[in-house]
Symmetry: C2
Subunit: 133 residues, 2 copies
Amino acid sequence: MSETSPTAKGPDFSRGDGLLPAIAQDSRTGEVLMLAYMNAESYAETLASGRAVYFSRSRQRLWRKGEESGNVQLVRAIHIDCDADTILLSVEQIGGAACHEGYSSCFFRRVTPAGLEVVGQRVFDPAEVYGKK
Amino acid sequence: MSETSPTAKGPDFSRGDGLLPAIAQDSRTGEVLMLAYMNAESYAETLASGRAVYFSRSRQRLWRKGEESGNVQLVRAIHIDCDADTILLSVEQIGGAACHEGYSSCFFRRVTPAGLEVVGQRVFDPAEVYGKK
């Protein structure tokens, strides 16, 4: 819990391994859509383009959200937390679904004593969006 | 992007280094309050106690949110994402402020072309809550 630097201009990518968690929240509904990671390059491109660009840890490359599905995220605001090591994006989710499984939010499953309960509604069929190549 | 396992019961702590990011969202306002990390032990205690328990990376120990300030988080719901590697807590934030700097949310600073702008309102004075020991 470092003190806030009054001279800070943005996220502190010197923390951790240069990858910071970035939360995407729907700018209209407040729904938390997903969490991904950003490095300095993806953050800079997000600022420049106005669209959310993440860094894919599994693919080890920039991930321009929606590059395959067309469901881009238009960034309406960016906030950072007190430690400058987490990014909060307020976004307009094109297509109405952030999750590659077709749900509006990746958090479509609720933990219950009986196990996981799917509480989200599917907006699209993943097979139609990703499956026909 | 693994497929969802229908038999999954909760977060997959085998991913990463056993620490998963956990987002706390205000259950009434939808405001994103903070992001911290959980290990399996802190998650289990969260389930058992109904209060948010994180794992402090800087202190390398369980962090029972509010243990010092009294501003505990009562957990109203838990969701996990499609990859089961991020946790979303819906919480009632006692004291009205999640941030150790006295703001309701840790994301009290907005990124603007001119630098960071404080957009949150202080709920308490950190010196009064933490400073007099």
